[in-house]
């Protein structure tokens, strides 16, 4: 896929789900044994064009997520390169045990793509939001977890996951007009975090759409002479431990920002590792504070849960006192 300014803009406009659809389409051109499996969500996952172009490499199993994973594993056991996708809660929680047994334990290699994770579908209520997926999957050995920061990173994450030998869960956040973090092509490597902003006072670790919000927050804080490092932790598992160690050495405060419960996600992963580092600075975990709020539009919910750039700024200032 050609990474240029035009495509970056288009992918941003169409959002991460449709970008995933285009990426799958391109991958099908080069990978003979690719199979994309869904549960009645082709259009929602941007897979309409894929479905029509490669009907033999596509399988819709209806609204049956437990069967989805088992069938995917059966195909993987016969050396097919399998992608499964549906809405994040159903992709991860509904079939959690199937993921444990078939993917974690039996190690059948599958790339799972959870669409509309986080708070994107808040107008439909929390049944269709997902603030638990990272926490739950982190506890299953053998699954890499990636949360791409923008649509370009979505392309790279899907490509890497499909070509990897390890099973992966790619967590797609955001809606259409997905803010652009990467304006130019760059190197993406699973497990290697990316420092996007450098500042001496504190380090913000962010994942998914919160990377953009964290960059905006850093800009606001700079005006008040507070200098932030912002790190895109696109790979939540395996965690980039070196990045955490470096931040502990260089920053007075660590902050994590994610569209996920403060329990179990990126912040928890960092806290777990940080607890083994002597004399490390405080870590403030920003995310959904372990409750299901009323629903609403994406921006509304970001505000409600303290995840807009301004709210991130407020929280940081509170913790710097």
């Amino acid at each position: 896929m050609i990474v240029n300014e035009r495509n970056i803009k288009i992918w941003s406009t169409i959002g991460s789900r449709a970008t995933f659809g285009i990426t799958a389409l391109e991958l099908a051109k080069e990978i003979d044994n690719l199979m994309v499996l869904t549960c009645d969500v082709s259009t929602s996952a941007g897979l309409d064009r894929y479905r029509k172009t490669y009907p033999d490499k596509y399988l819709d199993l209806g609204i049956a997520e437990q069967n989805l994973i088992g069938v995917a594993a059966g195909l993987a056991s016969e050396n097919f390169n399998v992608i499964t996708t549906t809405f994040a809660p159903f992709q991860t929680i509904r079939c959690c045990e199937q993921i444990k047994v078939n993917i974690g334990y039996m190690k059948q290699k599958i790339c799972m793509v959870g669409i509309a994770s986080g708070l994107a579908l808040g107008t439909l209520g929390f049944t269709h939001c997902c603030i638990e997926d990272v926490g739950i999957l982190r506890a299953i050995p053998g699954i890499t977890i990636i949360s791409p920061a923008d649509s370009l990173e979505t392309v790279k994450a899907i490509q890497s996951a499909v070509k990897s030998q390890t099973s992966t869960y790619v967590r797609l956040t955001g809606v259409s007009n997905n803010p652009i973090v990467y304006e130019k092509d760059y190197d993406f490597k699973i497990g290697k975090s990316i420092k996007l902003v450098e500042g001496k006072d504190l380090t913000i670790f962010a994942s998914g759409t919160m990377v953009y919000n964290s960059i905006q927050a850093a800009k606001i804080l700079k005006k008040d002479n507070i200098h932030c490092t912002v790190i895109n932790m696109h790979t939540i598992k395996p965690l980039d431990k070196q990045a955490v160690e470096e931040a502990c050495r260089n920053s007075k405060l660590l902050v994590s920002v994610e569209e996920h419960n403060v329990i179990g996600g990126l912040g928890s992963a960092i806290a777990e590792y940080k607890s083994s580092i002597e004399k490390s600075p405080k870590l403030v975990i920003l995310g959904v504070n372990d409750y299901y709020s009323k629903g609403g539009e994406y921006q509304f919910l970001q505000n409600e849960h303290g995840l807009t750039p301004n709210k991130i700024v407020d929280n940081i200032k509170l913790n710097l006192k």
Partner: protein
């Protein structure tokens, strides 16, 4: 280049249609290239070409080459 030519070019480029296959009668979802992904590409291309930002309602209503001309009229684009 006239606005009409710019407009036509946007369609050809965004939807990746061959010039020879292009017709001003095309409608959303009636040709394979103009599906939901093609549509967003087209909106993006038009925004860039005409330096405008298209409203969500207009993006939804924009369902044919001709309807599109009408919609762009709201943004002071004359054909």
């Amino acid at each position: 280049m006239s606005n009409l030519e710019k407009y036509k070019e946007a369609f050809i480029k965004a939807l990746e249609i061959e010039k020879s296959k292009f017709s001003d009668k095309i409608k959303y979802n009636e040709i394979p290239e103009w599906d939901s992904i093609g549509h967003m590409s087209l909106m993006s291309e038009l925004e860039e070409k005409f330096s405008i930002t298209i409203d969500t309602d207009d993006i939804v209503d924009f369902d044919s080459f001709n309807k599109g001309k009408e919609i762009l009229g709201k943004y002071d684009i004359k054909f």
